[in-house]
């Protein structure tokens, strides 16, 4: 058995009046825990225990004058007697076993009524009990409204069958003989049946409404949190109401209200400076950053809660924000590059080719790599379909021959590609969806009011696609000249990036090499590409007999997201027919 005696309180302080005892027989005390408040002629002091254990007997009572050295109480199973006592200047963790400071009553106010009860441990026990039996609520009963209030008149119902209620949301106004109180729900769910009517007298415990399958309620916090909201009587009323309101409005996270307050119905704030409850501020814990740093973060679009502070105590500086923003940016940049590269490069691990013979490794940087990335992306994002057709260009060939000297004069070469440019430009005017792009993010189709056609050129650097602008506004000779110039530039490595941008459609001609057809890959973000293969003389069944005709195989690959198969067939047929009736073109060109 260990005794706790009143320790030295300070210079020239020999005694004090015991204004409040914070323990009772049976309480568990630990060293450092405040056990009483003593009023000396200088100040009111909180006296911490220097012993730990279960309080056995208390030798003093409130109102007594107590002298330094006098025995205050004894403990059983005492442990950890502290070497020396401490006075009021304590550093105590806020979760003491006994009553926390905030739960204390002002001295001079009535002492907790029944003297031998244990104010210290009672709430804890009660809490434990409540915690042990979480209730599953399928109905809402009128909770306790406060001391001596057993009933009230229902002045206003705020719910009806079908209403969604959530915990803490006010569901009715009750007029007691003291005031009008707003009663918040302690349950969440959808109201099934309302068992009361406006104007009725309602008793504590009476069922107000039932729920369609109620949600389990953590009783411990619920009780305090959902104590009726007294909004017209008491300075705090408005505050309480405010809390209920923001809860109901779902603006902030709910917070349990003090379970250790002497009365369950006192979750009140004279001037509540719980910032989580201030309108417009969501409840996040105060961030360790000076105000200007927080504003800076906002300005640069950084969520400061994501930033790790490098200062003492995790304090976040402006530099931390900058570093974070930089990291974000570069991460974003890498991410932007990553998918195509991943799309192309991410493939199963390569075998050791050298096992089977000699190999040479050559850098893939430059055009090859760009092409690889670009095509892989196009292939990955665009659902490709290729439509094949054939155009009889026997007549066109004559036209070409006629125009050839003219083109040559002008410094160009009259090729099938040059003619195809003219044909496609005309076709794109008739079928604008082939001259479009898809903006998936905005969910929009971008129709271009201009016709710029790229022509794939085979160079020793790889595939390049110079773009000829406003094709529809140029005649065939002009197109032939421009095409020749651009192709030469491409081969001579003189082409500028600008000259390869802004295309709306692409033509690729492999006819110079051979082949009967192929499936070109759409040049993203365009939606279609026309492939030309080698034209050859073929027997065509015309007017009851086979005739030798010059046939050009056409392959149109298109983005099936935007273009339907039938449209593609029509578009390609239109092109084929245009090739077949060059007369049309000469009229237009």
């Amino acid at each position: 058995m260990i005794e706790f005696k009143l320790p030295e309180l300070g210079e020239n302080i020999e005694q004090g009046d015991l204004v409040r005892l914070m323990i009772a027989p049976g309480s568990t005390v630990s060293a450092g825990q405040s056990v009483m408040e003593l009023e000396t002629d200088k100040a009111v002091l909180e006296v911490p225990s220097s012993v730990s254990g279960t309080v056995q007997q208390i030798h003093v009572k409130e109102g007594d004058k107590i002298k330094v050295g006098q025995v205050i109480f004894t403990v059983e199973n005492g442990a950890g007697v502290r070497s020396a006592p401490e006075i009021a200047a304590t550093v105590a963790p806020t979760e003491p076993v006994g009553p926390p400071v905030a739960a204390s009553q002002p001295a001079g106010s009535p002492a907790p009524s029944s003297a031998p009860s244990t104010p210290a441990s009672a709430p804890a026990v009660e809490r434990a009990e409540r915690r042990a039996q979480p209730q599953v609520a399928s109905e809402f009963k009128l909770p306790e409204l406060g001391e001596n209030i057993s009933q009230g008149d229902l002045v206003r119902l705020m719910i009806a069958p079908g209403t969604k209620v959530s915990e803490g949301q006010p569901v009715m106004e009750l007029e007691t003989d003291k005031a009008v109180v707003e009663v918040p729900s302690s349950v969440s769910g959808v109201v099934k049946e309302v068992k009361v009517k406006e104007g009725e007298k309602i008793k504590v415990g009476q069922v107000i409404f039932t729920l369609e399958g109620g949600a389990p309620v953590q009783a411990e916090t619920t009780r305090a949190r959902n104590a009726p909201v007294e909004h017209v009587s008491g300075q705090h009323g408005a505050r309480l109401a405010f809390q209920a309101a923001i809860r109901a409005e779902g603006k902030t996270e709910e917070q349990a209200l003090p379970p250790d307050q002497p009365r369950p119905a006192s979750p009140v704030f004279s001037m509540p400076l719980q910032l989580g409850k201030v309108a417009g501020t969501e409840h996040r814990q105060a961030i360790p950053a000076a105000p200007h740093v927080r504003r800076f973060a906002r300005e640069v679009g950084v969520d400061i809660y994501e930033v790790k502070g490098t200062g003492p105590g995790g304090r976040i500086s402006e530099d931390d924000i900058k570093a974070y923003a930089k990291a974000l940016l570069s991460a974003a940049a890498t991410a932007a590059q990553a998918p195509p590269r991943a799309g192309y490069f991410a493939q199963p691990q390569l075998p050791d080719f050298a096992k089977w013979g000699k190999v040479e490794r050559v850098s893939m940087r430059g055009v090859r790599r760009k092409t690889a990335e670009h095509l892989a992306e196009a292939w990955n994002t665009i659902p490709h379909v290729t439509q094949h057709d054939r155009a009889d260009i026997t007549e066109l060939e004559q036209l070409r021959a006629r125009f050839a000297p003219k083109a040559e004069e002008a410094g160009g070469k009259m090729t099938v590609t040059a003619i195809a440019l003219k044909v496609c430009a005309a076709a794109l005017k008739v079928f604008p969806q082939f001259n479009a792009s898809i903006d998936i993010e905005k969910e929009e189709i971008v129709y271009k009011q201009y016709i710029n056609i790229g022509v794939a050129a085979d160079t020793d650097r790889g595939l390049l696609v110079p773009v000829i602008r406003d094709v529809d506004k140029k005649n065939i000779v002009e197109l032939a000249v421009e095409l020749s110039q651009l192709s030469k530039k491409a081969r001579d490595k003189k082409i500028t990036p600008e000259e390869m941008q802004g295309g709306t459609f692409t033509i690729t001609n492999l006819g110079g090499i051979g082949g009967v057809g192929f499936t070109p890959i759409v040049n993203h973000p365009e939606v279609a590409i026309l492939g030309l293969s080698r034209s050859r003389m073929e027997p065509e069944w015309i007017n009851g007999k086979f005739e030798p005709r010059l046939i050009l195989p056409l392959s149109l690959s298109y983005d099936h997201r935007l273009i339907d198969g039938a449209d593609a067939a029509r578009f390609l047929r239109w092109i084929a027919e245009a090739f077949e009736q060059p007369f049309l073109l000469s009229v237009q060109g």
Partner: protein
């Protein structure tokens, strides 16, 4: 921001929120109209709130100190109170400040319209001017700053000048022999203190178990003890069930567990006057508001986001009308934030600490985290307290009952909250706010040299207490 500075904005309500917003808007180049029924800007705070109450509390403190001076060997005769003079001094203070705001409006070319505004739509106001004229004005943005008014308890409504709200009490019509203050919040205690100092027998009734509900109990205790001496009675856990006008006074009937247990806790009593200070209600019942998209929450507060913007994109709202805490400095900060948001700045109302001050004697002040809140949130904190009995300055003032405490995060040792009770606590708390906002560590506070001998040292010393090294307190080592 150049493209936004020519915005035309209206501010409805000329309180601290309203005029702070209007002035900043003008400074940013906007065209500003400020509308309020009073002759000059000021609102509740200047006309019938913070300012007149603080003027009277200053006088109350002087009277109290003159009594205490006896202990120091100086004896004054009982004060003779010239009520008319006191009133006109208080009114002079109000005039000086509100007049000053009027001049500041003019200098900034804010158009001040004396009248009441109602909404025609989101961007149009109909203003009924005090001189009777009407004007319909259109704006790009409107800021609602209509504030709040005293809450009324239906059962405490009596048609007699003996029943007062805070506005009536500040009018100081007479010095009643006895006064019942209903509501032990800060307004009731401040005004109760004024009347007590002037000689009125004051009784405070509080429904809950302590004064200043919500404030940490250890901060309230010293105030409670002093008020017990100043007031005739402090009735806790008590409500006023009924009031009755008896012509010569008001009979109040009390209810509560302790009522009737002793002579000091009577069932009923007659008072010369009654002050009802049970809270404040937001002025959100603005005519025509339903013609906008503005949403009013169930408790009457206008709903806003962190930019103080309502559900109507053209309408912002600030101050008491948007929610707690209903304090002038919160209103002003919100007003400025709203204007910056309107000007296109990326801002938000997101303080880490808003100070609260109760201007009683001793004063009670706190900011940031409170112990009560920490318990509610189950947050582990450490509390370092410095009792003013160990402060030289407090002893020279003969006011050793104060206490300063820091709430500290045990992991980072960051100062999360500060609580102070004692003379001048309202001034001292500013350092606490700065510490919390700057994310100061207890060590920062402890290592900052504070002037000696001042009460401000208690802030530094409480940080030292945290480390067990306070100069003025002996604290034996643990273990």
């Amino acid at each position: 921001m150049s493209e936004t500075t020519n915005l035309n904005i209206a501010v409805v309500g000329g309180g601290p929120g309203g005029y702070a917003a209007a002035f900043l808007a003008a400074d940013l180049g906007m065209t500003v109209t400020l509308i309020d029924p009073e002759v000059n800007p000021g609102g509740v705070c200047l006309y019938r709130g913070c300012i007149p109450s603080k003027a009277l509390l200053h006088v109350a403190k002087l009277v109290e100190e003159s009594h205490q001076a006896k202990d120091w060997g100086i004896e004054f005769a009982a004060p003779k109170i010239n009520l008319a003079r006191l009133r006109s001094w208080k009114e002079g203070v109000v005039k000086k400040l509100t007049g000053g705001l009027g001049i500041l409006s003019k200098q900034r070319k804010v158009r001040y319209v004396q009248g009441r505004a109602e909404f025609e739509n989101s961007t149009t106001l109909r203003v009924t001017k005090t001189d009777g004229a009407e004007e319909v004005l259109s704006f790009d943005r409107i800021i609602i700053a209509t504030g709040s008014r005293p809450a009324i308890v239906p059962s405490l409504k009596l048609d007699t000048p003996r029943m007062m709200d805070s506005t009536g009490a500040l009018n100081l019509e007479d010095i009643p022999g006895s006064l019942l203050v209903v509501g032990g919040g800060y307004i009731g205690l401040e005004l109760g203190s004024v009347y007590a100092a002037l000689g009125t027998r004051v009784t405070v009734v509080e429904m809950l178990s302590g004064l200043l509900p919500g404030a940490d109990r250890d901060l309230v205790l010293p105030l409670h003890k002093r008020l017990e001496k100043m007031f005739e009675g402090i009735l806790l856990n008590t409500t006023v069930a009924a009031v009755q006008d008896e012509g010569t006074g008001i009979r109040a009937t009390f209810e509560g567990a302790d009522v009737g247990v002793s002579e000091a806790k009577p069932h009923e009593k007659v008072f010369d006057r009654v002050l009802v200070s049970v809270g404040r209600k937001p002025n959100s019942e603005i005519a025509g508001l339903e013609k906008t998209q503005v949403q009013v929450g169930q408790r009457g507060f206008i709903q806003v986001n962190k930019q103080l913007q309502t559900d109507d994109l053209a309408v912002y709202a600030i101050g008491d009308v948007v929610g707690e805490p209903m304090l002038a400095h919160k209103a002003m900060h919100e007003g400025r934030t709203a204007v910056e948001a309107i000007a296109g700045h990326k801002v938000a109302f997101e303080p880490n600490a808003i100070p609260a001050v109760v201007f009683t004697d001793p004063e009670v002040a706190w900011c940031g985290l409170t112990e009560t809140q920490a318990q509610n949130e189950n947050r582990e904190i450490k509390v370092a307290k410095f009792p003013w009995a160990a402060s030289g300055r407090a002893i020279t003032l003969d006011r050793p009952e104060g206490m300063t405490k820091l709430l500290i995060d045990p992991q980072t040792e960051r100062v999360l909250g500060v609580g102070i009770v004692g003379v001048g606590a309202g001034e001292l708390i500013a350092e606490g706010v700065l510490a919390v906002e700057m994310a100061a560590l207890a060590r920062d506070v402890a290592m900052t040299i504070h002037p000696h001998p001042t009460l401000s040292e208690t802030v530094m010393e409480s940080a030292e207490v945290f480390f067990g090294t306070s100069t003025d307190i002996y604290r034996p080592k643990r273990g």
